[in-house]
């Protein structure tokens, strides 16, 4: 068979399998939500309060693809490559930032060429639970010139997460893509209870 591919979220203090939540893939369906707590599926708990001025960020999310597919101890896909992520280009009313919201993405390269972050650079989402998330761009580990957060001008365009080939790794039993760090910012005129229409798409090439 080809690779089993899951969209996953990592939470908790460290990058570890035990802290991983599979959001989608074979037999899995978990709804991730932007919220003000470090949780993959918080339900309705700790939503993002609408601020009285400026924006209120959510806790950031660490999302990535998990590739597995062992068949009797050996992998049954050759490699995956060209992992991209994009949305529908109108994220939370991107054209109307002042009244709704936006999403910020971690820019690992600093030049907009790649947004993936390695598992070694994972950092737990922080903030004031129930109130507000810490801003990605002000996070001490990521606000250097070579590793900074930035808004995306055109979210209709694909964002390259990882261009290198990911080869099967027989010892680990799975391989990860780099992870995409992102958070939602809610504006002062956001409508309570309206989730907006958002579409997130992962794309990857696979040689089976």
């Amino acid at each position: 068979m080809a690779a089993d591919v899951y969209v996953c979220e990592m939470n908790g203090a460290s990058w570890a399998l035990g802290n991983q939540t599979k959001l989608s893939g074979a037999g899995v369906s978990v709804t991730a939500r932007y919220c003000t707590m470090d949780s993959a599926a918080p339900g309705d708990a700790n939503p993002i309060p609408i601020p009285t001025e400026a924006y209120n960020p959510s806790y950031w999310k660490n999302h990535y693809l998990l590739f597995s597919g062992s068949n009797g101890g050996s992998y049954d896909f050759t490699y995956v490559s060209s992992i991209r992520w994009y949305c529908d280009g109108d994220l939370f009313g991107w054209n109307d930032l002042k009244t709704s919201g936006m999403v910020l993405l971690m820019d690992a390269s600093g030049d907009g060429s790649a947004y993936g972050v390695t598992s070694g650079n994972y950092d737990q989402a922080t903030g004031a639970q129930g109130t507000s998330g810490a801003k990605i761009g002000e996070h001490s580990a990521w606000n250097s010139a070579s590793s900074q957060a930035s808004g995306i001008n055109s979210l209709g365009n694909a964002i390259t997460v990882d261009e290198r080939k990911i080869e099967p790794n027989d010892t680990a039993g799975f391989v990860w893509s780099k992870h995409l760090v992102h958070q939602a910012w809610v504006g002062v005129d956001a409508a309570s209870g309206n989730p907006g229409t958002e579409t997130y798409t992962w794309v990857w090439d696979e040689v089976s």
Partner: protein
């Protein structure tokens, strides 16, 4: 309101479940072949096992019904047999290198809203979200019209919107109105599908040329030359 009558909401479907529709097979010059899935043992072969030296043809073939059923039932592999899909083959001549077993895969997740009244699912953009007075906002189901509303406790008259000038009183009997909140649920839905790619590349005068068929899941083909 006229727009409401002609508006045809598009219900979400989940037909794109990521099932594999074609399997590949390599054909060799000695008359043998290597299928992606062995029809007897169900063993999986990978593209790296293909012997490029004696490869003369590489193809994509719809899953035979029996093999598809066995792969699903015995191996848990998500494949689907559709005998109406065509097969695609590339003949490999000297100097040509096959581009095969390659797919571009999509996983698309969309938010949607569930109407608590009719229990149907809609994309968020298809559900109106409007103010019904008193700074109360509600979704309005495009199918059954369910929404949060105001009502008179005495005579039962329902108001889908109320104005400040009415002073929160029933225009029929003068009793103060109350609110009835209809709570719409939100959730997300994932769709998966892929584009199959098959072709060849060859080096002519030091320049690599690629010719690739991009095959969508309905069998449509787009030829690409790079």
């Amino acid at each position: 309101m006229q727009d409401d009558k002609v508006f045809k909401p598009q219900l979400i479907s989940n037909k794109k479940d990521g099932a594999w529709l074609w399997m590949w097979m390599a054909h060799y010059s000695d008359g043998t072949s290597l299928p992606q899935y062995d029809p007897y043992t169900l063993k999986t072969h990978t593209f790296r096992e293909v012997n490029q030296d004696k490869l003369i043809k590489f193809g994509l073939y719809p899953f035979p019904p029996t093999l598809a059923r066995r792969l699903v039932e015995e191996k848990g592999i998500n494949v689907r047999s559709n005998i109406f899909l065509p097969r695609y083959e590339v003949n490999i001549k000297e100097g040509m290198r096959v581009i095969g077993a390659l797919t571009t895969n999509f996983s698309r997740t969309t938010t949607y809203i569930i109407c608590p009244s009719c229990n149907r699912k809609f994309k968020s953009s298809q559900v109106k979200f409007s103010n019904i007075g008193g700074n109360v906002k509600t979704h309005i189901c495009p199918e059954c019209g369910a929404q949060s509303h105001w009502f008179c406790k005495k005579c039962g008259k329902i108001y889908k919107h109320i104005n400040k000038t009415d002073n929160w009183k029933c225009t029929k009997c003068g009793t103060r109105v109350a609110g009835n909140r209809v709570q719409f649920q939100t959730d997300s839905l994932e769709e998966r599908w892929r584009i199959y790619k098959l072709g060849y590349q060859e080096t002519i005068k030091g320049v690599n040329h690629k010719t690739i068929m991009e095959i969508s899941e309905n069998g449509d083909v787009e030829m690409k030359y790079k």
